[in-house]
Amino acid sequence: MTIKKTFWQKYEAWIWALVFVLIYIWAFSGIPATGIQAVAGEVTKSILNGMLHPDFSYVYTGDGEDLVSLLLQTLAIAFAGTLASAIFSIPFAFWAARMKKGGIHFTSSTGKLFLTIVRTFPEIVMAIMFIKAVGPGPFAGVLAVSFHSIGMLGKLFAEAVEEIDRRPAEAIIAAGGTHFDVLIHATIPAVIPEFISLTLYRFEIAVRSASILGLVGAGGIGAPLIFAIGTRWWPRVAIILLGIIVMVTVIDFLSGYLRKKLV
């Protein structure tokens, strides 16, 4: 006896495949295939040529506008921004964390919605708004990184708070402790390693975004990069890209090592 399959069981995979193909036909129809400019091949060649001959004289000139100083400035933007944001995120995390199971939680839901809005608000727009406030320069970058990171760190922190073991807190309450005692002796010790690990992770992301904030004038290595691309100065582009790759790789490695030690 063979087992009869329903229509849906038999053809489910095919139907999904068809939906997938239709979606992609629609997607490809929207992108003009002729969009590539005629000189693309030539530009690629000069880029590759520039990549093979990076402008090493830019690495260090001593006037504060060279690769090393600007990479350090980028790191400083990411570090100051992330640390400030980690501190500001803590109250938001407790606002958004859902402490009881089931039902609708007005506090938690509004907190989560707020954090989603902050997270989706484009960082570039935030950077431009802060440039209007404090003028162009790395300080605007620090502000943009720190405000934008609250959206993500607040959410991750809130999830960490939701997942902690609740028994120590119950034990303290049972032994006659106050809510303040619970915070100091149960909640904070439980979440601190998690918070530090998440902050390090966010720092890795912030290094990447700090290196592009310069595109709008918020300090760091982005400004000379966009200038070099605009003037088709490929050896200079190459050395800046190399610098960014090295910086990001080193930071990722260090942060990964520290996070492994924390767990």
């Binding site: 484009p122 727009v125 990069l225």
Partner: protein
Amino acid sequence: MNTIPKKSFAQKWHVKAIVWTVIVLALFIASCSVTGVDVGVFLTGFNQFMQIFYEMLKPDWSYVPFTVQPIIQTIQMALIGTLIGSIVAVPFSVLAARNIVTNPAIRGIIRFILNLVRTLPDLMLAAIFVAVVGIGPMAGVLTLAIFSFGMISKLFYEAIETIDMGPIEALTAAGATKTQVVWFAVLPQVYNHFLSYFLYTFEINVRASTILGYLGAGGIGELLQRSLGQFRYDRTAIVVIGTFIVVVVVDTLSNQLRERLQ
């Protein structure tokens, strides 16, 4: 008899924690001085910031029809970028998986390339691709393809490394070639993971693609750049709201599908 456990001097006075705090604080102060952090400037300039914010609170609703086409283009860019990135990622992820490729040299080289790709921020790739292929959605698609390739290949090879080795051994014992092993024993096991990561990458690509247009790489970001350049913050607000809606809808849909896959 119960005794209180003895703590060493370092444990009792939290020496390690204090040293780390001091290091972090020193780095923080150094960073602040390098970047010229000045709370006073921020407070005096805060009116300017709030002024933009107030203008954004009065969105120019008549601008909505102009955002529809760019938003559609953004989604199309994200779809195609994710597809290209994942297709290219499959062979790379198989070659980078520890349990498939036993030769550490090949694996090391492939992983090194993948790590390099992942270090490049999306906007930086967009700036370069706009210079190469010109202003337009093509630059955005290429950016997203490279960007998602780096991310998805890592997720893929980590998925491959967790599979059950039994079917692979069985096929090898039956005399299957390497390609047959990958095709009949590896891919069927990771198929669902791949689809789930594909959707996840698509979510991230939608987020990324909303900003790429700022540099001329197509999609809704172009309107962001235009409205900011014209100081029309009421229009910027519309673009931001549109982005928000798209991101939330795509995230919700994709989360639903991913839950069904598990």
